[in-house]
C-alpha cells in the first residue's frame, strides 16, 4: 500500500510540475524558438533535437514551438515571464541578439533571466558584395567608405542582431561612417538586396553566404571571427585584413531554461544535451545544411555570455 501511495505521489509531482530529477524527463519536452518556422535557428533547432528521444539522450522527444516576432523579443519575453520553470519548457537562444536587446532596453529579460544549458552552433557574420562588385577585399570597401563618407550602403537583418553588431564593429575598427540598411524579413531579405544590387554590400550569415557564393551570386570579402572557417578556408578574417573585429557578432545558438528551474534538472540537462549534440546523425545533417557546429558546455556558455555582455555594453554605449 505504501508503495502504491509513493508511486501515486511521485506521479502527482510529475503532473504538477514539481521537479523530481531522478526520473526527469517523464514526458515530452517543448522547446521554444523565437524565430519563424524555416529560419536558420528553427531549422538547426529541429536537427539538433531530433535524437532527443533516444535512450542514450533524454529518452523523451523535444517538440519545437515557434513564437516569432520583433526580432526574437516576443518569444524571449514570453519565455522569461510565462514559461513553466520545471524543465519541460526549453528555449533556443541567439547570442548576441538577446543580450544586445536587453542592453538597449524595452524587453523583460537579461542574461540573469535565463540559465544556459549548452551551445550547439556558431554562425559568424561575413561581409559580402554582389558578384560583379568592384570591391575585392575589405581594404577596397574601407577605401571607398573613406572617400565617400556615409555613402556605402550595406544590408543586414535588422537592428541589434549579429549583423548589426558586426556592422558597428567594422565601422568602428576602420574609423569610417557607412550606411547600414536593416531589412525586415531576416537574412534572406538582406541577401536579396545584395544580389539584386539594391545596396553595395552587406553583412550576412556565413552559412547563407557560403551557399550564395557557391551558386556564384556573391563574393565573400571577410569573416568577423577569430579564425577562418572550415567552410571557407580561402576567406580571410577581418583581423587578417587589418580591421580590429573580434567574434562578438558571431551568432551563437544553444539551449537555455528560465531562471528558477530546479538545479538537479539543470544538471541533468547540462550533462546530457552536449552529448546529444555530438550524435553522428546530427553532425551529418548540420554539415549537409552548411550549418557550422560549435558545441559548448554550460560552464563555457556562461563565460561566453558574460564576455558578450561586457563587449556589447561597451559597443552600444554610444548609440
Amino acid at each position: 500500500m505504501k508503495k502504491i501511495l509513493a508511486a501515486l505521489a511521485v506521479s502527482l509531482m510529475g503532473l504538477t510540475g514539481t521537479a523530481y530529477a531522478g526520473n526527469y524527463p517523464e514526458r515530452p519536452i517543448l522547446m521554444m524558438v523565437s524565430y519563424g518556422a524555416g529560419g536558420a535557428t528553427d531549422f538547426q533547432a529541429r536537427i539538433v533535437t531530433m535524437t532527443a528521444g533516444n535512450e542514450d539522450a533524454l529518452g523523451m522527444p523535444i517538440a519545437i514551438i515557434n513564437k516569432p516576432g520583433a526580432g526574437g523579443r516576443v518569444g524571449w519575453n514570453w519565455f522569461s515571464g510565462e514559461a513553466d520553470k520545471d524543465g519541460y519548457t526549453l528555449a533556443a537562444y541567439n547570442v548576441p541578439h538577446f543580450i544586445a536587446q536587453s542592453i538597449k532596453g524595452g524587453v523583460d529579460y537579461s542574461t540573469d533571466s535565463f540559465e544556459p544549458i549548452a551551445n550547439w552552433g556558431a554562425d559568424p557574420a561575413v561581409f559580402i558584395v554582389g558578384k560583379d562588385s568592384e570591391f575585392n577585399s575589405m581594404a577596397d570597401v574601407v577605401a571607398f567608405a573613406k572617400a565617400n563618407p556615409g555613402k556605402l550602403t550595406f544590408s543586414g537583418a535588422g537592428l541589434f542582431v549579429g549583423h548589426h553588431i558586426a556592422a558597428l564593429q567594422i565601422e568602428q575598427a576602420a574609423g569610417v561612417k557607412m550606411a547600414y540598411i536593416p531589412t525586415k524579413g531576416g537574412g534572406a531579405a538582406a541577401m536579396k538586396a545584395v544580389i539584386a544590387g539594391d545596396v553595395l554590400g552587406g553583412v550576412n550569415n556565413l552559412s547563407d553566404a557560403f551557399r550564395a557564393a557557391a551558386a556564384g551570386n556573391i563574393k565573400i570579402l571577410g569573416i568577423a571571427d577569430l579564425e577562418r572557417s572550415t567552410f571557407l578556408p580561402d576567406v580571410p578574417t577581418m583581423k587578417e585584413q587589418g580591421l580590429d573585429v573580434d567574434n562578438a557578432s558571431v551568432n551563437f545558438r544553444g539551449i537555455m531554461v528560465p531562471k528558477g528551474t530546479p538545479q538537479d534538472v539543470i544538471d541533468k540537462l547540462a550533462a546530457t544535451v552536449p552529448e546529444m549534440f555530438k550524435n553522428k546523425r546530427v553532425a551529418k545533417r548540420m554539415k549537409a545544411g552548411g550549418s557550422p557546429m560549435h558545441i559548448m558546455t554550460r560552464d563555457e556558455v556562461k563565460a561566453m555570455w558574460a564576455a558578450r555582455q561586457a563587449t556589447l555594453e561597451e559597443l552600444l554605449k554610444g548609440l
Partner: protein, 496 residues
C-alpha cells in the same frame, strides 16, 4: 524538355503514396482554420528526415499545393480564410454557399486552382532563368509603389463605397503598425505584452471574417427561431468544368495576375488572390454581380492563389532566396539533404529538382480530383443548424488562433478584432479592405524606410523613388487604377 525524363521517378509506388498522402493531408490541414500552408509544410519537415531527398520534397511539394487549395474549403463553407491567399475566395464563395450552392463553389474553386496551378508550374519549368531576373528587378522603391498600387485596389474592393473601403484600409494599416518596429527598433502601440509582436495576420483574418457572422448567427437564433434551413443543391461536375471554361476573362486574369505577383519576393502569396479578384471585376462585363456569389469571383481568386505557387519557388530555386515564408520552410527541406539551391541546381541535382517540380504538376491533378470528390459531402456543412454552426465556428476560431503560435494573446486579438468588425459591418464597412491594409501597411512602410535610407546615401529620395522605368510604370498603373475607381463610382452614381 528535360523534365519529361524524370516523370518516371514520380510514378514509383513510394512517390505516389507520398504524393497521395501529402495531397489528402494537405487538403485537410489547409481546410483547418489557423493551419496555413507554411505551418503545414513546417509540420511535415521532421518526417522528411527519414526520407530520401526526392521523396521528402515530393511530400512537401504536394502538401504546399494542396494546402493552398484546401484553404478554400473553410473560406467557402465557414467564411474563415485558412490563409491570406484565400481571403478573396470568401467574398463570393461564402455567399454562394449560403444560397445552397456550396458544392458548386467548391468545384469551381478546385478546377480553377488546377488550371492556375498547372500554368504556374509550367512557368517554373520553362521560364525559370528569365523569371529569376524579373524577381530581382524589384528593389525597395518598386515594392513601395507596388504596395501603393495595392492600396488603390483597397478603394475598389469594397463594392459599396470607395470612401468606406479606403477608411477600412486605413484601420488595417494602423493595426499593422502595432508592435516592435524592426527598422528603427522602437515599440509602437504595445499596450499589452501579447501585442509585442504586432497583430498576427492569421488570428486577425479569423477574427475579422468569422466572428461577425458568429455574432449574427447567435443573434438571429435568439430573435428569430424560424431561421430558414439552407437546402444544399447537388451540382454536376461537368457543369462546373463548363462554367470555369466559359468564364475566360476571370480565369485568364486570375492566372496571369497570380503568376506575376507570386514571383515578387516578400509580397506574392498574400495579395495575389485579392489583386486578381479586383482586376477580374474591372475586366468583367458583369461587374455588379461580384460579391453576391458570382462564379467569376471564385474562379479569379482561386486561379490566382494556386498560380502563384510555381513562380514563388523561382527565387528560391535559382537564387537561394525564399520569396515567401513557405518557400523558407522548403529551403530547410532542401538543405537537410545537402542540396543547395542556386543557378546550377538544375545541372547538379536534376534527379531531385525535376521529380519535385513534376510531382507538383501531378499533385495539382490529384488535389483537384480529391477536392471535387469531397466537395459534395463537405457542402452539406451549410445544412447544419445555425445555432450549432455558430458554436462550431467559434470553437474553430479559438482553436485556429491559438494554434498559430500556442498563444492566448492571439486569441484575445482575434476576439477583439472580431467584435470590432461586427460593429463596423453594421455601418457598412467590410473586412476585405481592412485585411489588405493590414498586409500592405508593413510592406509599404518598411520598403519606404529602407528606400529612403538608401536614397539618403545616394542622390536623395526624389530620384530614388521617381526615376527609372519600373518606378514610372508602377506609378502610372496606380494613377490609372485610382482614376478608374473614381470614374466608375461617379458613373454608377449618375445611373442611380
Amino acid at each position: 524538355m528535360e523534365f519529361i525524363y524524370y516523370f518516371g521517378e514520380v510514378f514509383t509506388p513510394v512517390s505516389m503514396l507520398l504524393l497521395i498522402g501529402g495531397t489528402i493531408g494537405g487538403l485537410i490541414l489547409g481546410a483547418t482554420p489557423g493551419l496555413s500552408p507554411t505551418m503545414a509544410v513546417a509540420l511535415l519537415i521532421p518526417f522528411t528526415f527519414h526520407l530520401t531527398a526526392v521523396h521528402g520534397l515530393i511530400l512537401l511539394g504536394a502538401a504546399y499545393t494542396s494546402t493552398v487549395a484546401g484553404g478554400a474549403v473553410s473560406a467557402i463553407l465557414l467564411k474563415i480564410p485558412g490563409a491570406p491567399a484565400n481571403i478573396a475566395t470568401t467574398l463570393d464563395g461564402h455567399t454562394m454557399a449560403q444560397k445552397g450552392d456550396g458544392a458548386k463553389a467548391l468545384q469551381l474553386s478546385f478546377i480553377s486552382s488546377l488550371i492556375g496551378g498547372v500554368f504556374g508550374v509550367i512557368l517554373l519549368i520553362f521560364l525559370t532563368p528569365v523569371l529569376a531576373q524579373w524577381a530581382l528587378a524589384f528593389g525597395p522603391s518598386h515594392l513601395f509603389w507596388l504596395a501603393i498600387l495595392g492600396v488603390t485596389v483597397i478603394g475598389s474592393l469594397d463594392s459599396n463605397s470607395v470612401v468606406k473601403g479606403l477608411l477600412s484600409g486605413c484601420i488595417g494599416m494602423w493595426l499593422a503598425t502595432i508592435g516592435f518596429d524592426d527598422m528603427l527598433g522602437v515599440k509602437r502601440f504595445v499596450f499589452h505584452p501579447s501585442l509585442g509582436g504586432g497583430v498576427n495576420i492569421i488570428p486577425a483574418l479569423i477574427g475579422l471574417f468569422a466572428i461577425p457572422q458568429v455574432i449574427t448567427m447567435f443573434a438571429k437564433g435568439r430573435f428569430d427561431t424560424s431561421v430558414e434551413q439552407i437546402k444544399v443543391k447537388k451540382h454536376p461536375i461537368g457543369a462546373a468544368i463548363k462554367e470555369v471554361l466559359s468564364r475566360k476573362i476571370a480565369l485568364v486574369v486570375g492566372t496571369i495576375t497570380g503568376s506575376i505577383i507570386g514571383l515578387i519576393p516578400g509580397v506574392g502569396g498574400q495579395i495575389a488572390g485579392l489583386v486578381a479578384y479586383d482586376q477580374a471585376r474591372k475586366f468583367s462585363p458583369e461587374r455588379a454581380k461580384f460579391g453576391t456569389g458570382h462564379s467569376e469571383g471564385i474562379i479569379a481568386a482561386e486561379a490566382a492563389n494556386n498560380a502563384m505557387v510555381g513562380p514563388s519557388l523561382v527565387p528560391l530555386l535559382t537564387l537561394s532566396i525564399p520569396g515567401s515564408p513557405t518557400a523558407a520552410v522548403l529551403l530547410g527541406g532542401l538543405l537537410i539533404h545537402g542540396i543547395f539551391p542556386g543557378t546550377d541546381l538544375f545541372e547538379n541535382h536534376p534527379d531531385v529538382v525535376w521529380p519535385f517540380i513534376n510531382s507538383m504538376l501531378i499533385g495539382q491533378v490529384l488535389m483537384c480530383i480529391f477536392g471535387i470528390y469531397i466537395a459534395s459531402f463537405a457542402a452539406r456543412v451549410s445544412q447544419v443548424p445555425q445555432s450549432v454552426m455558430a458554436a462550431t465556428v467559434l470553437g474553430l476560431a479559438v482553436f485556429g488562433s491559438y494554434a498559430v503560435q500556442q498563444s492566448m494573446g492571439d486569441v484575445y486579438v482575434m476576439a477583439v478584432l472580431g467584435c470590432m468588425m461586427y460593429f463596423l459591418e453594421r455601418f457598412g464597412f467590410t473586412a476585405a479592405p481592412l485585411v489588405l491594409g493590414l498586409i500592405l501597411g508593413p510592406i509599404a512602410e518598411s520598403n519606404f524606410v529602407q528606400g529612403s535610407m538608401i536614397a539618403n546615401a545616394q542622390n536623395g529620395a526624389f530620384t530614388y523613388f521617381f526615376t527609372g522605368g519600373l518606378n514610372m510604370l508602377l506609378i502610372a498603373v496606380a494613377v490609372v487604377s485610382i482614376a478608374y475607381s473614381a470614374w466608375s463610382e461617379l458613373s454608377t452614381r449618375e445611373d442611380a
